[in-house]
């Protein structure tokens, strides 16, 4: 199996697991709900990107492994939800790795489809944050990407680095592919944000929580 597909499936699994665990915590859902919400979190962002690129059927439907791995992550969360909550820190880190991977590959795929830099940065971020946003809407939670923490900002940063490197025609830096640097930047900002409880600025004049 090619390395990129393997990484993509690992990211899909992490998103499904994290998405389904969040769903169990915040809403009274049944087996169908937990698995569905895990799958939506995992493949929703990539589907949005592919529909916006006109690359249909989306990658998640072109290869059965995406849906299967996503369903497995959701099922695992259903069966072991309580026990897995003890590992929530490790799962958050895995989720940050998924975010980094999805934002970077999303921006790369948009550029490869002929999109301009502005669109590629936004589509990279959409790939990273779209699935979790869809899940939050389904369980009637204000999407966390709109309200707290650093989630879109690391995704935008990672996607912007991919776009900048493409414009400057830089493919490697110190022998390491640029995509890995971009993913590392996204991952680092996301994990630092989690660790230090950082938030994006609030509108001026609005009272703080």
């Amino acid at each position: 199996m090619p390395v990129l597909l393997l990484l993509d499936l690992v990211g899909t699994f992490a998103f499904a697991l994290n998405g389904a665990l969040t769903a169990v915590r915040v809403a009274r859902v049944d087996l169908v709900g937990v698995v569905t919400l895990g799958m939506v979190t995992a493949v929703g962002g990539g589907i949005m990107r592919d529909v916006l690129l006109g690359a249909v059927p989306p990658a998640a439907f072109a290869d059965w492994r995406y849906l299967t791995v996503a369903a497995a992550g959701g099922l695992l969360a259903f069966l072991f939800g309580r026990g897995l909550n003890r590992f929530s820190r490790s799962i958050d880190v895995l989720d940050a790795a998924g975010l980094a991977l999805f934002a970077v590959t999303g921006a790369g795929k948009a550029l490869a489809s002929g999109m301009g830099p502005v669109q590629a940065i936004i589509l990279g971020a959409v790939t990273g944050v779209g699935g979790g946003t869809l899940r939050d809407v389904l369980v009637r939670r204000l999407p966390s990407v709109l309200s707290s923490g650093l989630y879109a900002i690391p995704a935008l940063a990672g996607a912007a680095l991919v776009v900048a490197a493409d414009a400057a025609d830089v493919r490697r830096l110190l022998e390491v592919p640029v995509a890995m640097w971009a993913a590392a930047v996204c991952f680092t900002i996301r994990v630092a944000g989690l660790h230090f409880g950082l938030d994006a600025p609030k509108p001026p004049g609005v009272p703080r929580d």
Copy 2:
């Protein structure tokens, strides 16, 4: 008019009527809201399937009769909402027939577009449950497919039978087309679930309602 189109329009009408009646019950919507929510319930699932298959424009927009029949169902619910609530049991049965029809034709259409078995089963279920889920999101209700009753499970069962029969190259059983058996299984599970108040399993450790 071909039988399949006629059946499809009957299913569309049943979904629009049931969807709009639900909307009137749970939210303070006006004429535009009732008709829109009926139409979204009726054509939303098929549109999701077609977008995911890359079959655009979706069938609901390729033939004006779908939107017209859906709008008529919504308008009827607006005008006679109170009176129609007395027939809610018959409308539930009509809705179960619509679910069976949509799940079976949705899986068949996915297979005909070259989708694999996993994807075809999921797209059959999406065709059946997508519209009602969209309506629930619009009226800010936790989608019932995620939380209670048997709704996705009969749709998955019907779609899986279509896929299994296709894999085994069986087209008829006791002279009856396989699609009708699959629809009958979906319909029976759905109606039994309604009648006996069956639910999908809840996550272990979560207190029951």
Copy 3:
């Protein structure tokens, strides 16, 4: 720059500004949230129309200026939200102009893609109201288009005039292009509805607020 593109960008900007200001008022969102909700309001309806027409990538992603102008409108609302609320009446009027423009150009684009009259009217209305509906769903508000005011009705009227003129092969009336008459009708109904506090009819038997 062609006049139509310029008008389209002005409508996009008005929608982004109004959408983001509404978001700040009704939900506790951060910088990312305000800008995202402004952009979603501005380009959401056109993206829905283009996906339903099969015209992908959508116009909003084919030209970087749409996303940039939408982001600028959102950013302005973030920075000057409090001050801008004083101009809410002027912004409402600008928003009505955006609605008229989007409904009319949306119906025209649907006809040009070979859609029938029923579909073109609905796609015109979707272009006008889709973005605001998506924003309302994201901030967990019952979409105003479903519940109060006249928003979909002027959009449907403007779109229907475009379709009727196309069917009658009328391009100009008193030397003025028909599209401008249609936009003026939509705009007038919308502004009159705002001014006089008009609502669409409620379902019979439902108590009034």
